[in-house]
């Protein structure tokens, strides 16, 4: 099953996502050994198609999904999304592709922040991307950086100056035992400057440094500098009135002049920041509309939900919220990593139906990862079976079920619990043992250690993907022939009402 080779990749038609020779390896401590999580996997997904990835735990299906998202980037191989190779992108270029690719995770409750309200959780991608969609102009960005720096430096400078001055006069007054020498700022000046210094000089730069939003940072820096300018001038005037134009007066004059210059620059920037603010308000209203739309689409009442926290919802509802969060940026591709494995059967059916509806409504392309072949078959247009980091078989789902060619696929099929008391699974295909260690995978075909059909050749030669039917590819030296298809399961007495 080595599943190497790219024979199953389609050459005709538009593929939205195409991964070639994907390899993901993780180091094992400092031993020099590697976990071969994904070894030479190639898959492609057409626009509007659902690709199912199925296999046991540890077969690398989730790692493959994450490698497609570049979370982390694969060790080697290409991931071509809409004509660009994502593995060559990094930083802002990669970020720009991200909103088109979203993920839904297995455990809905742990993938939602328990301390945030649902409205904020769903709006978060929008908030993050708002600044990317409406970026501030280059001048604003440069000025913002310069001003933040200047504000911090000036606050420090002013503070030092004040301290030195106080020590100086304090010492003088102590030595002369004459406390009238102490600075005698008028009460109003002392109080107001203290307030302005505290409010603007301390909190301004602090806010500027801590606030995550670019716009908040600009306004905080601006506030700080205007405050610094005002206080500097007050100090300078006071010093001038007291002592004339001595050393301290010169220094405070310099500070006041610099602060004023910078404050003027900022006032010049003010109109653009007002425009920014207005835009921000518009964007927020738009975000709220979008959040309500997606929550309604996934069957959650927005009125009741936006102000509640995730623990107030059941597992199925949390999964709906996760789906809403993934949909909010209008992605093209959603990677669903075991989205229903943690849910009850009845809720599982609701979520699977919802995913189908969302796919139709938003024109999505899905990569659906799960270990339950019955679930994968229900949602997929094409199914890829994985084992120990390699692909075994790629086929349309109905084909895969009707005539599994790979012994592993047959084993997976026979292990699905069938809700029919008369059904007896075919013991010959039931898998014994467990998946081998991905640190030292078996030679040749990786499935040979558990394969009922393994022969000597399987240990030496790694089978390549080859076509055995329309869109049906298998990587096996001895695929199951059509004549020995698994016996049909007795049809259910009341399987479905038509």
């Amino acid at each position: 099953m080595a599943g190497s080779g790219t024979a199953h990749l389609r050459t005709t038609g538009e593929t939205l996502l195409r991964a070639e020779n994907l390899v993901v390896e993780f180091p094992v401590g400092r031993t020099g050994l590697k976990v071969h999580a994904v070894s030479d996997v190639s898959i492609d997904v057409r626009e509007g198609e659902t690709l199912g990835l199925v296999g046991e735990s540890g077969c690398g299906k989730s790692t493959t999904g994450r490698a497609l998202m570049q979370l982390p980037s694969p060790t080697s191989g290409d991931v071509i999304y809409g004509g660009t190779d994502l593995t060559e992108l990094s930083g802002p270029d990669l970020r720009r592709v991200r909103p088109e690719m979203q993920m839904i995770f297995q455990d809905p409750i742990s993938s939602l922040n328990p301390r945030r309200r649902v409205g904020r959780i769903v709006a978060e991608p929008l908030r993050i991307w708002a600044s990317e969609h409406h970026p501030p102009s280059a001048t604003v960005r440069i000025a913002m950086r310069a001003l933040t720096g200047a504000a911090v430096i000036q606050a420090g400078f002013f503070g030092l100056l004040a301290i030195f001055w106080l020590i100086n006069t304090g010492l003088k007054s102590l030595m002369a035992w004459d406390f009238t020498l102490l600075p005698d700022f008028d009460n109003w000046l002392r109080a107001s400057s203290a307030l302005i210094v505290l409010g603007a000089v301390v909190f301004g730069p602090l806010l500027a440094a801590l606030s995550p939003n670019i716009r908040d940072r600009v306004s905080a820096a601006r506030l700080a500098l205007i405050g610094v300018a005002i206080v500097s001038w007050l100090v300078f005037l006071r010093a001038l009135a007291n002592d004339g134009f001595n050393n301290a007066g010169t220094l405070s004059f310099a500070a006041a002049a610099a602060a004023t210059a910078i404050a003027l620059v900022m006032v010049w920037l003010l109109p653009s920041s007002i425009a920014d603010f207005k835009q921000m308000v518009d964007v927020r209203a738009e975000h709220d509309r979008k959040v309500i739309e997606v929550l309604e689409a996934v069957g959650i009442d927005p009125e009741a939900a936006v102000n509640r926290r995730p623990h107030e919802f059941s597992g199925g509802q949390c999964q709906r919220i996760c789906i809403a969060r993934a949909l909010v940026l209008d992605p093209k591709l959603i990677i669903c990593d075991e989205p229903v494995s943690a849910l009850d059967v009845s809720v599982q059916a609701q979520i699977l139906n919802l995913l189908e509806d969302m796919k139709q409504r938003y024109g999505l392309t899905l990569v659906f990862i799960a270990h339950d072949l019955a679930v994968v078959k229900n949602v997929s247009d094409r199914v890829a079976v994985m084992y120990l980091g390699k692909l075994c078989e790629v086929a349309p789902p109905d084909d895969l079920y009707a005539k599994p060619a790979h012994p592993y696929t047959a084993a997976l099929l026979s292990s699905i619990p069938v809700p029919d008391p008369t059904y007896r699974p075919d013991e010959s295909t039931t898998l014994a043992g467990e998946i081998p260690s991905p640190v030292a995978p078996p030679s040749g075909c990786r499935f040979r250690t558990r394969c009922p059909k393994a022969e000597d050749m399987c240990a030496q030669v790694e089978p390549k993907m080859r076509q055995i039917g329309l869109g049906h590819h298998v990587a096996c030296h001895f695929p199951i022939e059509l004549t020995e298809t698994r016996p049909s399961s007795a049809s259910l007495a009341k399987s479905s009402r038509s």
Partner: protein, 379 residues
């Protein structure tokens, strides 16, 4: 360290005429600020030696609470546990935890859902198995570890001698579940509770574990209560199935009867919501709309009525009692059972009236992907 054994494994005078387990009108209510949570609300069942009972239901249907209530593994405060639990003819509901100590392990034991959290991560596997052997069967250390080795071999763990000295994190999920089964089987219980034993496991491993449980059960002539949310898991492996909904048994029947003559709409809905491998891909699943009932303020009448496609006015006002079907041992709680003249009428009326739960069943299946090749005739 070792506490005195109050009564040994043979402390129970087995009454050959009595059922192994007989539960009569068991209630388990949690007292909360909002009011009593009726987790188990009047459940009666019987189980004979060597038989398997499947308990099926959604999350919150009370299936786990039922098994814990029978075993006495519940908190002692703010709880009302009423009814009768006859084990080998003895009513064990009033037993104190000290008295239950002689029942746990040697008479009845449990396999839990998540093998990682039910094993102690800092104690070696050998010690975890031998603990109950030394306590209940008064074995010395050597004897106990020999038995542990035999147990690990019997549950199909490769290199069992080496495993005895390992910690749980060194084993895979399937192997860990085998260890918890070995622990549960250690003192030869007559009744084994398996509470979602395979929900945390892969399908292939699930099949292995279920086969193992079945084989062990046959070998030891042990009764088993298999709790799960998946009707597929219990279909081929149980003698009888109890479908639970909102703390009550909605329907109970011998397994073949349940699948061929199901009466309760919930059983039918549960079965239909499973994606079936023989269905074509993109078949629309028949999900059960809505949510499980609030156990503090259950809906008036039948507690399934808000989600039921058959529901009529009667269902919303009168709680149906357990009704006996024509097949012996088959009971259900429904005024308009599936596939009965009244049931068909009720469904037709609801579809005509446009009740969403019922209309959903008539929606055309969503099949938009052409199947590349027709399925062979054998299917």
């Amino acid at each position: 360290m070792r506490r005195k054994v109050i009564s040994g494994p043979s402390g129970f005078q087995a009454d050959p005429n009595a059922h192994l387990l007989k539960v009569v009108d068991l209630k388990t209510h949690y007292l909360t600020g909002r009011g009593p949570v009726r987790a188990v609300d009047g459940v009666s069942l019987t189980l004979d030696r060597g038989k398997t009972l499947g308990v099926v239901g959604e999350s919150g249907s009370g299936k786990t609470q039922l098994s814990r209530s029978i075993m006495g593994l519940l908190p002692t405060k703010n709880i009302v546990r009423a009814g009768q639990i006859f084990y080998e003819g003895h009513d064990i509901i009033s037993y104190t935890p000290d008295q239950m100590r002689s029942v746990w392990g040697s008479e009845m034991s449990m396999v839990f859902q998540d093998p990682m959290t039910s094993l102690n991560p800092v104690i070696k596997i050998g010690r975890q198995i031998t603990e109950s052997l030394q306590f209940h069967l008064d074995m010395d250390k050597g004897e106990a570890s020999e038995t542990a080795l035999a147990l690990l071999t019997s549950v199909g763990i490769p290199e069992p001698a080496q495993r005895l000295g390992e910690y749980p994190h060194q084993l895979s999920g399937g192997m860990r579940q085998r260890v918890t089964i070995a622990i549960a089987l250690a003192c030869g219980p007559k009744l084994l509770f398996a509470d979602e034993p395979t929900t945390a496991l892969d399908v292939t491993v699930q099949a292995q574990i279920l086969n193992l449980l079945q084989a062990q059960q046959k070998e030891r002539h042990m009764a088993m209560i298999l709790v799960t949310h998946d009707l597929g898991v219990v279909a081929g492996r149980t003698d009888e199935i109890a479908v639970m909904y909102g703390g009550k048994v909605a329907e109970q029947a011998p397994t073949p009867v349940l699948f061929s003559h199901m009466k309760h709409p919930y059983t039918e809905a549960l079965l239909n919501s499973i994606p079936k491998i023989e269905q074509r891909s993109h078949t629309r699943l028949e999900a059960i709309g809505g949510r499980p009932p609030d156990l503090v303020h259950p809906p008036a009448g039948c507690n399934f009525s808000p989600r039921c496609p058959y529901a009529q006015d009667k269902c919303r006002t009168e709680d149906p009692p357990l009704i006996e079907a024509e097949t012996p041992g088959h009971v259900y709680r429904c005024w308009y059972p599936v596939d009965s003249p009244e049931g068909r009428d009720a469904l037709a009326r609801n579809i005509a009236a446009g009740v969403p739960n019922a209309v959903q069943l008539t929606e055309t299946p969503l099949v938009d992907a052409p199947v590349a090749t027709p399925a062979p005739s054998s299917l």
